[in-house]
């Protein structure tokens, strides 16, 4: 029983990551009508915002202290992170908090990346066939991840959660749940809530929702759809980016993490129903939990390898029973 609860909880934060990526994917796709194969790369870029900030904060000054020697007899090198020199204890505190603080970096960076991509590339593809959109964003994904690979190398770079969240919550003897995962879950729900609130409560959001229903009519109403498209794409990039930032303590980021998550998120979107935001969120959590269950040792003993394929099996089952996904609408992206 305890194991079950633990798995549900484990599934929640994986599901939260899927949901966040799928949310941005659906948003961009519902309004702009573009399937963005580079969306996973945006998640990865977000994660590397955290890596970059941590690297910057931990840039060190090296001082040689001639009065002290190492056991080998050479003068002792004293390395202090630059910020610590500058800000003292506050600097140490900042390094400890580098992951959450990265969000502040990631938001403008991801917005910029999103806007540049939309203005510079994506907008030329609104009228092109879907195959072209898929192909060009696929190429973009390769380019982005290869650039990251060249800068940061191919190996995963672990990030640590702030010290106060580094422990685990022990509900019972067997249910031990790292605090950071709780933070991630709360954070995701907050982001999802914020996106929905934005869409439901603001005029801008209303236009976006109207655009998701019927793009042409909204354009005919004399609303500047173009600019809103750009902003929506920027928001989608931010959502993917911050999801990536916060995920770094759970999974050390490497250059190809984006593609792994993208494939999953696509499955999430297909299961949830293309173009449906609630569907994306629901399916994200659902599949995260299902995957967690499948990775339980008891289940794996029963059906070996099930954890690797369960998501796809669920996707197939959903598509066979409900071809439009759990909450899909008719006629979305079917031509």
């Amino acid at each position: 029983m305890d194991a079950l609860i633990l798995q549900i909880m484990n599934g929640l934060d994986k599901g939260a990551a899927y949901a966040l990526i799928a949310l941005g994917l659906t948003l961009a796709f519902g309004t702009l009508g573009v399937v963005n194969f580079a969306h996973g790369a945006l998640f990865m870029l977000g994660a590397f915002c955290a890596v970059t900030l941590h690297k910057l904060l931990t840039l060190e000054t090296v001082r040689i202290d001639p009065t002290q020697t190492t056991p080998w007899g050479s003068p002792l090198e004293i390395r202090t992170p630059f910020v610590q020199d500058l800000l003292g204890d506050w600097g140490r505190f900042l390094i400890d908090l580098s992951v959450p603080v990265s969000i502040l970096l990631a938001i403008p960076v991801m917005l910029l990346i999103g806007v540049v991509l939309e203005r510079g590339l994506i907008r030329f593809f609104y009228k092109r066939p879907h195959a072209d959109q898929i192909l060009v964003t696929f190429g973009l994904a390769i380019v982005l991840q290869e650039i990251v690979k060249q800068i940061f190398g191919a190996n995963p770079i672990p990030q640590t959660a702030p010290e106060i969240f580094s422990g685990s919550l022990s509900l019972t003897e067997t249910i031990v749940y790292p605090y950071w995962r709780i933070v991630y879950l709360v954070f995701s729900l907050a982001v999802i809530g914020a996106v929905f609130a934005f869409l439901q409560l603001t005029t801008f959001g209303m236009v976006v929702r109207a655009g998701m229903q019927d793009r042409e009519t909204v354009g005919l109403l004399g609303i500047n759809v173009e600019r809103r498209f750009t902003i929506v794409f920027g928001i989608a990039a931010i959502v993917a980016g911050v999801a990536g930032v916060m995920y770094t303590p759970i999974l050390p980021p490497d250059y190809h993490m984006g593609m792994d998550f993208l494939v999953m998120s696509f499955v999430v979107v297909v299961v949830g129903g293309m173009g449906s935001l609630p569907g994306a969120v629901l399916a994200g959590f659902l599949l995260g939990i299902v995957q967690s269950f499948a990775s339980m040792n008891e289940v794996k003993a029963l059906i070996p390898g099930i954890d690797q394929i369960i998501i796809y099996l669920v996707a197939v089952a959903v598509l066979l029973v409900r071809p439009r996904g759990l909450m899909g609408r008719k006629g979305v992206m079917e031509s």
């Binding site: 399937v35 590339l121 030329f124 092109r128 879907h130 195959a131 072209d132 898929i134 192909l135 060009v136 696929f138 190429g139 973009l140 994904a141 390769i142 380019v143 290869e146 650039i147 690979k149 060249q150 593609m259 494939v263 696509f266 499955v267 979107v269 297909v270 293309m274 070996p304 390898g305 690797q308 394929i309 796809y312 996707a315 197939v316 598509l319 066979l320 071809p323 992206m333 079917e334 031509s335």
Partner: protein, 405 residues
Amino acid sequence: MKHASKLADFALLIGFAVMVALGPVIFEPIGAGYPDLLQKFAIYGIFAIGFNILFGLTGYLSFGHAAFLGVGSYAAVWSFKLVSMDLVPAILLAVLFAGILALAIGYVSLRRSGIYFSILTLAFAQMCYNMAYSVLTPITNGETGLRVLRDDPRVVDAVFGYVSPAPSLFGLQMTGWAGYYVCGAVLVAAFGLSIAVFRSPFGMTLRAIKSNQKRMGFTGYNTRPFLLTAFIISGMYAGLAGALLAAVDPLAGAERMQWTASGEVVLMTILGGAGTLLGPVVGTGMIKYFENIFSSYNDVQLAAIFSFLPDDLRDNVVSVLGMFVGEGWALTLGLLFMLVVIFLPGGIMEGVMRLLRLKHTPKVKSLGDSPQRDAIGESVIEDMPPDDHTSRTRESAKAMRETAS
């Protein structure tokens, strides 16, 4: 748009065969005239030709074709291990297994079209890839890769007392030039079959599906079995390529099934020109040639090339160019991908066609291509929105009144 005659197609095939036969001579001047590279041209050419039968004719963009290549490779290596070192059973098994997998994946994926289809095929290929690394390790040997060993049973070989150190075709070792010519012969056969598919009523049906699915339905065609057949055929081509890959390099690894490999075949096809006969082969040649050149360079060699530049400038040039060569080939590939899609969506073959047309008949604006051109030359009344019912109803009402009185 006259239909090509049988003779023209036959000439094309003969010409193609001659090109393949003369490959070593033709590619010598550009430094590609050695068997290892030419084998790759031929093998990936088969892969791309098969992919083109699906994507080029039906417009269904599969992002999971590497799975079939991988399955073909594994099946072939197992055939080399258990059945015989001969190529024939390996190819048969590879094509069979790839076909079965294509049937399963296609059956589900083809329930949807467009983007859904692309996503589903991508997801299934990733699933195969994951499984090859995890649960299927007894079959795939995981990260180490599956290799042929000296003391494998090889039941058929044992019966005949046949011993061959490497995969072979009727005793002919699949290495060096012999390997190339075997692959080349298979390539010519694969090309010939693709001509037949393109010219057959089946191929025309696929084209019509690409053009207008709705009309297909109302013309009485059940499109799904046609699509599934095309999917299976192209999966079998991939399996065939996988078998040859295993034959010239008897080590099958899961990385052949990765999404990048699926993406590469898409690129080869669109670079050459999807939907054209020669395009995929041309595209494959270009990609594999550049891959070979780009990957072989490193910073030291670049520095040597640019040694004529002043030191500072040279270091900068080398560090920038260094991003694109060696390990950085993937980056170049990604950029190339984007450039082709943005600027040359019709591929090289279309570019060539456009050039030829420009030269010979400058005034002909090719019919078609742009559906927006339809309305030109029609009267103004025709441009009236067809569903402007209100005014039309009023007209009819007037007509009614007139006739009634």
